[in-house]
């Protein structure tokens, strides 16, 4: 199963002890996650981590850029959420990257992997992407 983890998965994953064994699913790094990693990289080691993860994903063809279809889908999903008036404009802006991540995963036939499945529930209600918890991923 292809999975596109969110940024917090990458951080939590970096701190996990190694669990030897079969692959944990086909993990893909999305460009939105890369943006969030770089935005948080304040120290030299944090910047080196972001660079090394990017380099590994690029060399192994595990880097996914949102194609035009994902941008359009994410805009449509945000419009539906705005129309339903469940979220303020500020909340919608805060959701933007998660919606682009979800749309990118959907376009590439992948699932979103996140510790915050509930946060993605509203997105999954308007964009039929599969959302999985790290504990449930293979």
């Amino acid at each position: 199963m292809k999975v596109c983890p969110d940024t917090n998965w990458w951080i939590a994953h970096a701190l996990e002890p190694r669990r030897p064994g079969p692959a944990r699913g086909d993990v893909f790094l999305t460009a939105t996650v890369l943006q969030e990693l770089w935005a948080g990289a304040r120290s030299a080691p944090e910047r080196a981590y972001a660079e090394r993860v990017y380099d590994a994903a690029r060399r192994h063809r595990r880097l996914l850029n949102p194609p035009t279809a994902a941008w359009i889908l994410s805009g449509q999903a945000l419009q539906i959420l705005a129309r339903r008036r469940r979220f303020s404009a500020a909340r919608l802006r805060a959701l933007r990257n998660d919606v682009v991540l979800a749309a990118t995963a959907y376009v590439y036939g992948a699932a979103v992997m996140t510790h915050d499945a509930a946060d993605f529930a509203a997105i999954a209600a308007v964009l039929p992407v599969r959302v999985v918890s790290p504990a449930l991923a293979p």
Binding site: D6, I11, G40, Y49, V53
Partner: protein, 76 residues
């Protein structure tokens, strides 16, 4: 990327056929190459994590809506 060599493998032919069909690949060599690449990516990620884990304990992106799980637990 290492050099390509010819290898003789004792392998489950049916399993290999199923994997080739599932992955949508043309050849059995591509199947093995793809799975080895998956393994190599995971190995490389583990190496990166081991190297950088001490520096990532307080990492938080200002663009995420919540802190990473380990920072949430610490605050409770």
């Amino acid at each position: 990327m290492g050099r390509k060599v010819r290898k003789t493998l004792n392998i489950d032919a049916e399993k290999l056929k199923k994997a080739r069909e599932y992955l949508g690949l043309d050849t059995e060599t591509e199947v093995i190459d793809r799975l080895l690449d998956d393994c190599d990516f995971e190995r490389e990620l583990d190496a990166i994590n081991r190297e950088f884990a001490p520096y990532m304990k307080n990492f938080r992106s200002p663009l995420t809506r919540r802190p990473p799980p380990h920072l949430r637990r610490r605050r409770k």
